[in-house]
Symmetry: C2
Subunit: 246 residues, 2 copies
């Protein structure tokens, strides 16, 4: 296994950081990797907001639902869907952009956000840093938009904490790869058995890492997915002009 | 710069492949990297469909709008949003999943698709292989769903061609990083100048690579983004149960 594959396959989320700063050189390399990540049709409809100010990180931690590691890690990066940037380009040709009103537009932008996020994670981990992605950036999106100074046609989709690792974390097991990889055609015949096995695996894992409150996969998902756990995403995105209804 | 950063920052799309197969070991490593990529709340709501059969690749090339490299590259991987898998888990607890009806659910799944896609790209490139992401998988989504045998609550969001490089490709310039990275707060003051400069850079680039039909960024975007270029995404996703309206 080469070094890059090793880094990717060793991935785990870190929620305990030293206060030591991330050097400018390390941070610049992380941002450069995201800048070179693929982007659909060369749209480049993504922007990063690098937040290092401690007070701002503390406020983001609060808005994200009280995630202490955001205040602790020296760098937080918000990844923003930025159809304002593309709109400026489209307008100068005399055309009118409408892609931001569509599910296609939002979906492509979200995939590009994932590409940028993944690029930064791998770049950070290749330099020995720890990371944890932050979905809680969407918990109070209107406040987050104001904090980050985001204009219409933009939306903060996901965040990333980056820092030097204080306490390392174990790698959480995944469901068996047979429930992830299909060859030629989709085949869910093995899903029930894979889910059963994974529920048992996670129950064992939580005990091993002394998190007895940890739930099996099915129960953990059910507790979130029976509801729209971040109900402000749709209305606030609509107020930003990302209508998502075409 | 370490090897991983070098791979990431050397990324370019390849559209000319040898017919040599990708070995099982190389392919397994690519899939393993995607399997270990981060996934929101450990949902694991992503599946891969690995297509190696030549006839099926030829059909996908056609459905994607006539992209010859899909038929040419020995491996095509469709990355699928899979809320059917999570639904099976949620149902066994007696709860009812509704996240697949929301913009939050679709957005998170699309970010996870981007994470899996990026992981596979970096894993392939680290092994010397070439890749090109395929958004055209959404051009005729109903036909793609039938070809891949996808059940309700799933949707094919993006594809990836992987193979040994026949003719290498140059790396397309990106807009200046000042229009990508913001510190502390969003600031678009530099966007007009960055777009002007990038339009000129791309015009020069297209001449250099002898693609005189290539357009400046603004014009290329305007030609696509003034319309919903894949209008079947929203209605077909809705038919699959991904309503996206909460």
């Amino acid at each position: 296994m080469n070094e890059t594959l090793h880094i990717q396959q060793s991935h785990r989320s870190i929620r305990s950081y030293k206060t030591d700063p991330v050097s400018d050189a390390m941070l610049d390399a992380i941002v450069a990797s995201a800048h070179r990540a693929p982007t659909s049709m060369n749209m480049q409809e993504i922007s990063l907001i690098v937040v290092r100010d401690a007070e701002r990180r503390a406020r983001i931690a609060e808005l994200a639902g009280g995630q202490a590691w955001i205040a602790q890690a020296p760098v937080f990066i918000a990844i923003v869907v930025d159809f304002h940037k593309t709109d400026l380009g489209v307008r100068r040709t005399g055309q009118t952009q409408i892609i931001h009103e569509s599910m296609e537009g939002f979906g492509v932008a979200a995939v590009d956000v994932g590409l940028a996020l993944g690029a930064m994670i791998t770049a950070a981990e290749s330099q020995g840093l720890g990371i944890v992605p932050i979905g809680g950036i969407r918990r109070n999106p209107q406040d987050m938009i104001e904090l980050l100074g985001l204009p219409p046609l933009t939306f903060p989709l996901v965040g990333l904490c980056i820092g030097h690792i204080a306490n390392d974390a174990p790698q959480k097991p995944r469901m068996d790869i047979s429930a992830f990889r299909h060859d030629e055609r989709y085949n869910d015949a093995g899903y029930p058995a894979a889910i059963d096995a994974y529920d048992a695996t996670l129950t064992h894992y939580w005990k091993e890492v002394a998190r007895n409150e940890g739930l099996p996969w099915s129960e953990a998902l059910a507790s979130r997915l029976h509801t729209i756990y971040f109900p402000q995403v749709k209305p606030v995105a609509a107020m930003q002009g990302l209508l998502n209804d075409k």
